[in-house]
Point group: C2
Chain length 350, copies 2
DNA sequence: GATTTGGATGACACCGGTTACCATTTCCCG
DNA sequence: CGGGAAATGGTAACCGGTGTCATCCAAATC
């Protein structure tokens, strides 16, 4: 029983995973040719290919991503880099990425980070470099940091930046076009007949804060309306800041009859502020949010908001990363769109 | 310029990543010894170790996870397998896992799945097998599926199951002990003086549904209270089911003065149902949720609920998986705990 | 019919580590 | 001081693929 094992012995244990050599031997070709089939090289005769594919199917062979990655010089991993604290955003984005990666052989590794940390850039670099990631998807606000993008370019790691406007060459950008969402909100409130309209922005560190506002303001102006300086206040995309700014706005005189909050969290805060001030939504004041996360339909009244197709955006981003963009889809599905619920109505005609 | 490169030429480009051979050469040892240092083998003289470590630090060397994984036979990846649709749960769990993995050299790959899919088990197996995952963390309700655990054992992939009760050998289990949370809710409502108490359970496919209920019921009984059959209804852990069941319960006569919902989503639905029925919370009816996700503090009134330490649980799970459990922490931090907010009060004394 | 041409295939080194096994050195003891 | 065990380092094979380049062969060209 001390006879050393040779390839002729067959599989070591019946449970051993087949490798490329097994396939090559059974198909009567070299491993290189099997490799060609795996990688869809055109230089394989159809007959040979079929024979190899049959063996692959029979043995249930799947190439080892690690070995492939080692030889190829890059791991078959795609990173999601984010610092957005909203769970709904993160999960939707992940689902979108996974949609796009399905069947590609890539896997998703997640990398939340803190842009405020002094070691943020170092951490990011070492993460991507050590893992030899194939590519990364950067989402706001990391995506808006030029240094992060530069690092990726440096390392030679593919990257796609998801941001509200273009900040890079087209192949590196997926634009969420938040400005259009701001316009939708403005159009809706203007159509309802509001004129005393207020806006609670997100923090300036997010590009979307600016875009949502300027789209909103722009569309108001086009309709002969104006966003008064006192009615344009700055929040932080948080529930608490929504309460604060809402309270302040609702104490003003004249009081705005409509408030557009830069995201749903702040809109929830504004609703709370209205309640505390004894005001009724939408009778006394209309409220519009942005994002259409789950909370929007759980609030009372349910929130009119601008839906952002995060999952769809995620799929696009990863498809671009892998160079498998499918252009057959309706481009409208990538744009923000208004969802009207109970929190908006015409201003009270008093 | 056609002279072939030899190791003596030094790094190919200044940008080339150092590898184990570079370290060995510069430290004047064999790569095997460097490998020993990397893997903390005790059979290296202190002096040698220091010299090697100095070179590693100087060159900023980090071993390639792919090469290491290939030779080792397992990838340095840990999978999170989940089918819980709640984004807050998923994100908290991910954060917990990442907490525990920090500095370990492992990375997190996420794998949402659909237990209802006919290919669920196959998909899971092929995912884990192909990637040669080091280990996986299974969360409810996947964690409650024996077949999933069996597959992991089969493949030889380490696994930890997060579930409300023990379903496996201790080394494979992290128990969330939801029963205790149910008890907390019962104690709170009993102390407030409620006697007409109702319960909306989650779906039977989740073990936690049963545990939360039986803990609740048990603690009520201990206090001489009783959960009437008509007051124990089955929901689906969804907002909509909370509205439905809430509506039905609040239409009963006598009407319950307190409702314990199996999670926050359903509690949000119950609040909505109360509003629609013209009832005030907590004056007419008290409501308690479970989970303490963000929504609990965004609702109106804010929700009294049982906090589940998901992030902490995630950290524990992954530490157990890696065999790096840190037992120094307060074991209480792993248990559900009551968070009292505005949605509960003594029953109206009419 | 000899020579190109280019598709199809294979041999072999290599990616960057680890393990198996052997060789050497050091240390301890009789 | 010799013998043997323990400590330490080296060599080669291997993990499972891919890249480079040579080779083979059939069809195309002259």
């Amino acid at each position: 029983m001390s006879k050393p094992r040779t390839p002729e012995d067959g599989p070591a244990e019946s449970r051993r995973r087949p490798n490329i050599n097994d396939i090559a031997r059974l198909a009567g070709v070299s491993k290189k040719t099997v490799s060609r089939v795996i990688n869809a090289s055109p230089f394989v005769r159809a007959e040979t290919r079929e024979r190899i594919e049959a063996v692959i199917a029979e043995l249930g062979y799947a190439p080892d991503p690690q070995a492939r990655g080692l030889a190829y010089g890059r791991a078959f991993l795609i990173g999601l880099v984010y610092d957005n604290p909203n769970p709904q955003y993160v999960v939707n984005m992940q689902l979108g990425l996974l949609d796009g990666m399905k069947g590609s052989g890539f896997e998703l590794v997640v990398h939340p980070c803190d842009r405020a940390s002094p070691t943020f850039l170092e951490d990011l670099r070492s993460f991507v470099e050590r893992q030899r990631l194939f590519g990364v998807v950067l989402t706001p606000s990391v995506s808006e940091d030029e240094r992060a993008a530069t690092i990726m370019a440096d390392i030679g790691c593919a990257y796609v930046r998801v941001a509200s406007v273009s900040l890079d060459r087209p192949e590196h950008m997926i634009e969420t076009r938040d400005r259009l969402g701001g316009r939708e909100a403005a159009a809706h409130l203007a159509e309802l007949g509001h004129t005393l309209i207020a806006f609670v922005s997100g923090p300036p560190s997010f590009r979307s804060s600016h875009e949502r506002r300027s789209g909103f303001e722009e569309a108001l102006e086009e309709r002969g309306l104006h966003l008064a300086k006192a009615f344009a206040v700055e929040g932080a995309y948080t529930y608490e800041s929504g309460i604060e700014r809402g309270r302040e706005l609702l104490a003003m005189s004249p009081r705005p009859t409509a408030i557009f909050a830069g995201n749903d969290e702040m809109a929830a805060g504004v609703l709370q502020a209205a309640r505390q001030a004894g005001l009724s939504v939408p009778d006394d004041v209309s409220v519009v949010g942005f994002d259409d996360f789950q909370i929007a339909s759980r609030l009372w009244p349910t929130l009119t908001t601008v839906r952002t197709p995060t999952r769809e955006i995620g799929r696009l981003a990863v498809e671009r990363l892998m160079g498998r963009e499918d252009d057959g889809r309706d481009p409208k599905s990538r744009l923000p769109s208004l969802v009207v619920r109970e929190s908006t109505a015409p201003p009270r005609g008093d």
